[in-house]
Symmetry: C2
Subunit: 214 residues, 2 copies
């Protein structure tokens, strides 16, 4: 684990994780939060009903259409999209608070959300795309998680093609063959991005001090 | 450790590690080779005499001015520079072979070498700058390694100011407060850079297959 020492006073970065449904991004993002306490996961609002096992405020904030319309009208969303007839949205306030406190914010959203996030924020966004190793594997994973009936799975498969068509808008591409490997890669990307010159405000102060005393 | 599975057939990347002498980049680059077998360290040629403890072909290829002149004339160097009256150069052939075999090549060179490498190669270069945490710490480290007398140390200190003035030409900045932290950060940068979209040739094939069968 990286100590806080080198990260003092930094502004958090924003990282988007997109993938076709079933490629593993939700499991990856949950695990990432466990292993790195400087990461905050943006929890989306949705008008879709909760599925068995889903927890309000942890997996989503489950809200009705009225509240959704009001929040949208009040400009409380960084992005929103309609998928399979339901709305999904990213709330603005928790993200801003997390960034100001020096947390990195992780977004588990699709290409539409990513495009809107790019438009609506002044921050630079790190964009990671997670791919399933094959169509067979994707279909197998969708069946194995036993969340959806065959019709929904077929819808998800055709939606996967749409999602994958946007891969070129992302900075990093990971083929999720092996969960532990993919986790290590995504974590490496976050760590690396923290040390990009533009984000090393702390290092710039050290450079100033070094140059003054050399 | 990342398995080879996801990296098949990739072209290696080139990473430069620069820092003022004494900031720790040589120890860091040596250790990096131990923990990641996909990294190849470019060993420089030099006309400077070897110091106690330095090994020919491991730390440098120690050569005389005649051979240096001949190799330079034959275009065998990617870059070279004169520092404190001696030449230092990066040989071309071992780097090309390593890259073609899918190794990442690490360069332990200064800002002059980095600029020349940018000019002389078609490859995109990942540039990392390592800073000492303070001038006091830098001076302490130069004394502790007992390689140089006080005059040389003073020369190195004034050269440090020159080196640090070029920090803005680098992609990543690391303050080397703690060796293990810095090692983990540099390793994360290499892993992350392997998964940049432009370098994921293997992923592009998987994308093509996915799109054909969805």
């Amino acid at each position: 684990m990286i100590t806080k020492q080198q990260n003092l006073n930094r502004q958090g970065l924003m990282m988007v994780l997109s993938s076709p449904s079933g490629a593993g991004k939700t499991s990856l993002s949950r695990k990432l939060l466990e292993i790195d306490k400087e990461i905050f996961l943006s929890v989306s609002y949705t008008t879709r009903p909760s599925r068995p096992g889903e927890e309000n405020e942890k997996d989503y904030f489950f809200i009705d259409n009225n509240l959704f319309g009001k929040m949208r009208g009040d400009g409380e969303f960084l992005e929103y999209a309609k998928v399979f007839g339901f709305y999904y949205a990213t709330p603005k306030t928790p993200v801003q608070k997390a960034l100001e406190s020096g947390f990195d914010v992780l977004f588990d959203i699709d290409w539409q959300g990513t495009q809107q996030l790019m438009d609506s924020t002044q921050e630079d966004l790190v964009k990671v795309f997670v791919l399933p190793p094959s169509v067979e594997e994707l279909e197998k994973r969708l069946h194995n998680r036993k969340q959806d009936n065959d019709n929904i799975i077929q819808e998800r498969m055709s939606r996967a093609a749409d999602e994958i068509s946007h891969y070129a808008e992302y900075d990093y591409i990971i083929v999720n063959d092996n969960f532990e490997d993919s986790l290590k890669i995504i974590h490496s990307i976050i760590i690396a991005e923290r040390y990009k010159r533009q984000r090393q405000i702390n290092a710039l102060n050290i450079i100033k001090n070094l140059r003054n005393s050399l």
